[in-house]
């Protein structure tokens, strides 16, 4: 058996790896004398970050909280609800599953300019893009998850004379949980991409995508990297939140067991 890893190592190793990369970055920039307009050293980016927390916070609220998070919640709930409704009807399932599978694989970011045209420049259009982007991964994953019970388990529920609702909440939804969380993890990363892409097609004078495109134009590359750092932290927190809930909700799944 493999020994369990101490929590210290679990956090220490990735942090150490990250620090090594940062030191290498700093050294390479200094050694090859790379101009800051191409690649600023991490120390410059850190200084810029500390100096402009106010702007970064405004951009964070605009893009992540208003755009991505609102869209993610609405899209996920809609996808989940739609999946349960579709699953109840074999006709709808047969008809919609191929269509939903097809749409889920399409480059839905392409609707960003259309949503900006429909809902204006503010965060509503960003949230709308995110809703459509996350709806189909959640729908497809939930539908697959709801099918992931075998005949024996369903027969057992029937011998208990379980109602449709009982079978759904006690057997099929729990069985679908790993799939739903897979969909949510995909969605969490898609949501930020959608919110930022939509800002390239028009935004008010705040937001991470807006800031990045204007700062690239003024060669404020250190500010761009500071925004990248913010988006990385936001995305990681979002993903970590989903993963934490997953661990709590699907502790019984083989992939979650301690090895």
């Amino acid at each position: 058996m493999i020994q369990p890893v101490s929590p210290l190592l679990k956090i220490g190793l990735p942090v150490a790896f990250g620090i090594i990369v940062l030191i290498l970055w700093e050294l390479i920039v200094a050694l090859f004398d790379i101009p800051p307009a191409i690649l600023p050293p991490p120390s410059d980016i850190g200084a810029r970050f500390a100096a402009s927390t106010g702007i970064l916070w405004i951009d964070f609220v605009q893009t992540v909280i208003k755009g991505a998070l609102t869209g993610l919640v609405i899209g996920a709930l809609a996808g989940l609800g739609a999946a349960i409704v579709i699953d109840a009807s074999p006709f709808l399932r047969q008809g919609l599953l191929p269509v939903a599978n097809f749409v889920a694989a399409l480059p839905i970011v392409g609707i960003a300019p259309i949503m900006v045209m429909w809902f204006g420049f503010d965060w509503h259009s960003k949230a709308a893009v995110v809703v459509v982007m996350v709806f189909f991964p959640i729908l497809v994953n939930t539908l697959a998850g709801l099918q992931d019970t075998d005949r024996m388990q369903r027969d057992l529920m029937r011998t208990y004379s379980a109602s449709y609702l009982q079978e759904l909440t006690k057997l099929r939804l729990p069985a679908a949980m790993p799939f739903i969380f897979n969909g949510l993890k995909i969605s969490a990363t898609l949501a930020l991409i959608g919110a930022i892409v939509a800002e390239y097609f028009g935004s008010p004078t705040r937001g991470m995508g807006f800031r990045i495109s204007t700062e690239v134009g003024r060669l404020g590359i250190d500010m761009v990297w500071a925004e990248i750092a913010v988006s990385a932290m936001a995305g990681t927190l979002l993903y970590a939140g989903v993963a934490l809930v997953e661990r709590w909700a699907t502790f019984w799944h083989p992939s979650q067991r301690r090895r």
Binding site: L9, L13, P14, V99, A105, L106, G110, L192, I196
Partner: protein
């Protein structure tokens, strides 16, 4: 027939909703025009006008179809207005990114499954890499690729596409390589199998369904990456650039045609990958489902 019928019904419903939507969304413009001209249009006139606007809020399906047909079949392939021309440019970046993503994703997954240290040190960063919205990184990748001497936009676009497509492969492969349960692993231990034998004879075959399932996602992600890579990089050719041009010049038809061209391209790519998957699964000796 039994399986096609529900799909046809659903698709028909979608078209009906689409037509109803374009009627409702375009009506206010028609009413505006009529009010300005001082006329009260009959319902049939409103209906006709909502279906044939050049700058409709929601163009009707037949308008999009006509624009697509025009862009794909009527323009010469070399023309800057041909969707085939732009599609091929996006497709090239997609394929390079796809290959890059598979190689990188599989290599990283094998490393993570075989080495505890790599698992602990790299997996968090692989996840973080995806939570960094690639659109934010895209301008930086272009700047760095140019500084490194890549002449065209193809290199940064392929990197962006690969950046998006390696992750589904990595996650699925890690899951797949770990999918053998304790019973199967114990069995191999009773056979006295080495780590390498366990890997080649149990873990790798067990991961193949996961691998192919991830390929479909990866190729779609690579296409998204290639399109997204065209947005903030000042590209003038490619489907993403077409969308940007349509948005900037207020030409919705260009946006819609580019969007559907991208959808058709995605469908073709996924179809090809599924065909490859089926052949591979059959060669692995799986029973046809």
């Amino acid at each position: 027939m039994k399986r096609v019928f529900p799909v046809l019904v659903v698709v028909a419903c979608i078209f009906a909703i689409w037509y109803a939507g374009s009627f409702l969304m375009n009506r206010s413009w028609v009413m505006d025009q009529a009010a300005r001209a001082g006329t009260v249009p009959a319902f049939s006139e409103v209906l006709r006008d909502t279906m044939n606007q050049d700058r409709a809020r929601l163009p009707a399906p037949h308008q999009v179809a006509a624009e697509l047909h025009d862009g794909i079949f009527d323009k010469k392939v070399t023309s800057k207005r041909s969707l085939v021309y732009h599609g091929i440019i996006t497709l090239q970046a997609t394929m390079w990114g796809f290959v890059l993503g598979i190689v990188f994703g599989v290599a990283l997954a094998v490393l993570i499954v075989l080495s505890r240290i790599a698992d602990l040190a790299l997996m968090p960063w692989a996840i973080i890499s995806q939570t960094i919205p690639v659109v934010a990184l895209a301008p930086m990748i272009v700047v760095l690729a140019n500084a490194a001497g890549a002449g065209s936009l193809m290199v940064p676009k392929a990197i962006i596409a690969g950046y998006l497509s390696f992750f589904p492969v990595l996650v699925s492969m890690v899951k797949g390589l770990r999918s053998p349960d304790a019973m199967q692993l114990d069995l191999l231990r009773t056979y006295g199998a080495t780590r390498a034998q366990t890997f080649w004879k149990l873990r790798l075959p067990a991961s193949l369904p996961y691998f192919f399932a991830s390929l479909k996602i990866a190729v779609a992600a690579a296409l998204v990456g290639a399109i997204v890579g065209e947005l903030p990089t000042g590209a003038i050719a490619g489907l993403g650039a077409r969308m940007l041009i349509g948005s900037q010049f207020g030409e919705p038809m260009i946006m819609w045609a580019a969007l559907f061209a991208a959808a058709i391209l995605a469908a073709l790519l996924i179809w090809v990958v599924s065909a490859i998957e089926q052949v591979a699964v059959r060669m692995m000796g799986a029973r046809p489902v």
